[in-house]
Symmetry: D2
Subunit: 269 residues, 4 copies
């Protein structure tokens, strides 16, 4: 009994357009795996799995850049810290990785997704007839109403004045736009948000990695939740690298701070 | 206060050779991130993060093939099933991904790691003076003593007679060996195990994807735990693709089987 | 260096009113652990940890009933299924438990929390001057506007006509109300919602376990997120029991359905 | 179609002696849930789920003491730290709890399990005819051969000279032994290990909480993996309490140390 020959309602319980199997046969999105191995790049395979078709070289190049850019932000990031701590607790390396990925919630991993939503909302306002300036302003206002004061993808508490990843990613988007691989519309939106924020706050709030990768994801037509999903794929690399390094360093039950620094007790005597 | 300017014992509590940061500066393994983005491929970046240097094109090509080959094995795999179920339970997409990766334990995700250990043990016996035949036989015997009857990387309960991914991966290893990118020594060991198992069992127990990717990891010099770690990176792609597909399908609290099929109760009346 | 003697800003980074430690001393909410062990019940300890004080016997009795009622709903529940699958994948028993708890999201584990929010909203409308009938009707309407068609805590896709846990829990609430341990106000609200839903739908949509435990949590003054948190504590018992049973049954890489039932492929040829 | 009326091989795929269901009926270990709610304590329910029968009051009292004793060890414990960090990353409270439990691996959560194995091995040696002294010595030697230098359940890097939980738990075991609820054999073994370690090392290595709860679990006849599982249930209480406290404190993306303390970079320039 195979995936392509379902057996009544039980085999119908799980349905997929991603993978088809028979003994000796594995096809992804209709393509035999042996024709993909050694032929498509890993980013192309990621695209195929998520989208159903293969990207152009230029599209794959942009996706690859977004993946490379986001692998790691150091042992202070909760995702990385959790994986390093987990390794010292005696769990499998996959469990340590899962502990890291489990941290990439709305606040830690969701800025890219939220930025794609913001960009798309601005684009939709333009399409609906608003001027570019109005679309940006109204999009920002609507975002604040919906989600509060933080503008996802702009500003960085550490990398001041500029997150070094963002300008480099935008250069690649501009190149791809010149080559007709993408329209560049979302790069323009991203830059307009940056300018508008400077006007509103009187100080620069530069595009950060989430803002720049969101430009790429929006240019490439990824749905917002996939911005978070792809970020998880990228960050998993750093999570693994740090878990492995910690495994080699050793340590048992390593807490967040050195043992002699504990915590402030603020409860009853 | 930056990573490169530690502040006493607190900043010394977490130590890393992977990433260095100052405001506006991020370097991985000594290389500025803006020089990596758009320049190195995602597999090269994975290698850099895990190993500290950049691979040759041929090495990266083999690693990429191993990553592409292992992305998914369908909704029956516990890793994929967990992620699809999780999505219907109302958690974030990163949490669904973590639930999938958390399944990749010794049995579900560990065969590649165990196969690298087996291959290396055989290679060590050769280096210590044993003939190739003896090394293979003694290595297999030692494996059985250590871990029981299963030989990791050989045989497949579904893909009979052959896992379509393994022969294609071996073709790529052979090509890389001809080009001097790898020695081919571990491909020979893998094939010799396959032959020895046929002799011992009287029936073919073909190399599967874990056996073939383990050949690649061993040829490329990855430590055994990284075989599992890299498998987790690859499988995360399928986990994400299925989580996303399930999100689009909808469903609430989707259990493993259709609701009218429950379970066999075998306890007291 | 102890919890009660912080060392500058580092020890101030983590702050807690829950636990105080010095070598040889552990106090929870100001009470030495050795005075709690053997003296307070486990539900009393749960209350102390979450609330900062000890409950009366009657309050603890109600909390205990809610804990006992929610331990398990069988291998079809995603939380239980995930833990059973995880065990067959070769991870630690704690990792299998985490995989189960990670499933208890908004849809699978959040109904109790959402029901407390609904009950409190109705109570607030009463306090603000609305009649009981109006408060119930307006509370329900507001819930639908906020969260859509499902009313958390009422109706059950399997236990028709009645979830056997709910009436028993309400009996205990009524007893506690007679004894003055709780007011019974939220039991009245829960029952009024049930009556109103019957009027609106023309068919009974009986209170289920989430609705009944939410009555208890609201009567006891727990904040809504703790309704989910305490449910996680209760369900962890069933998750552990099933993980352990599966460990004893054996099995390797157990997918959701028997291997010969696979999935329906609905993608391109 | 119900749990007790399986439908062919599909319903036979998941088998359990724990729970039986029909619409309107839920039985655990053969007992209707409505007869358990309000009647059995939460520790009794835990025992019923894990063991299949109900404990005596004295047995339940000991289990309850072990549960109360292990709820928390402060924000420095990786399990607690992970949950607190997770909350600031924007995940659900159940995901934060799962992140905590996922940390309770061999090193962080496994000492109790390992201690039960050690105690049982010593008891088996006695039963096989060894003198008590010899059994203790040989059991310890065998443990060192099997698992290295650490003796699980003895010594504490922080609570010197004595972990305040252990003596209190032993008092309860002694009381239960006098009342005939348990034999006290494992309390004797635990104390003999403590004495032997003092002889061997020349300095006291007092029984800690893991050693003392392991005495209880062994006295009560729990299998070793359940020592870890029950510890996970207990620690989940502290994990939840700290997650909830952190949720009330707020904070976004809270890393392990204050932001201005980063890490030591020890890689290439």
């Amino acid at each position: 009994m195979t995936g392509s020959t379902p057996r009544g309602d039980v085999s119908d319980w799980w349905r997929t357009a991603i993978i088809e199997m028979e003994p000796g046969v594995i096809k992804f999105r209709g393509r035999p795996i042996e024709e993909l191995i050694g032929t498509v790049s890993f980013p192309q395979m990621i695209w195929l799995m998520l989208r159903g078709d293969l990207p152009s070289q230029g599209q794959a190049h942009l996706l690859e850049a977004a993946l490379v850019a986001a692998v790691d932000h150091g042992p202070q990031a909760p995702s990385i810290a959790a994986a390093r701590m987990a390794v010292t607790c005696g769990v499998g390396i996959n469990n340590a990785m899962a502990s890291g990925v489990n941290m990439l919630g709305d606040v830690h991993g969701g800025a890219g997704e939220q930025a794609v939503v913001l960009y798309r909302d601005i684009a939709a306002r333009q399409e609906a007839g608003a001027s570019f300036e109005k679309a940006v302003q109204q999009g920002l206002d609507a975002h604040h109403d919906r989600r509060g004061k933080y503008v996802p993808g702009f500003g960085h508490r550490y990398h001041k004045p500029v997150d070094p990843r963002a300008p480099r990613l935008l250069v690649l988007v501009d190149e791809a736009a010149r080559e007709g691989e993408v329209t560049g519309a979302y790069a323009a939106i991203g830059r307009a948000i940056q300018a508008e924020l400077k006007t509103r706050k009187g100080t620069a709030l530069a595009m950060n990695i989430d803002g720049a990768t969101a430009v790429i994801f929006a240019e490439l037509g990824f749905e917002p939740p996939l911005a978070r999903g792809i970020f998880c794929l990228a960050r998993s690399v750093g999570i693994l690298a740090h878990a492995w390094e910690q495994m080699n360093q050793g340590g048992r039950n390593k807490g967040p701070t050195p043992p002699e620094y504990r915590w402030t007790y603020e409860g009853p005597e």
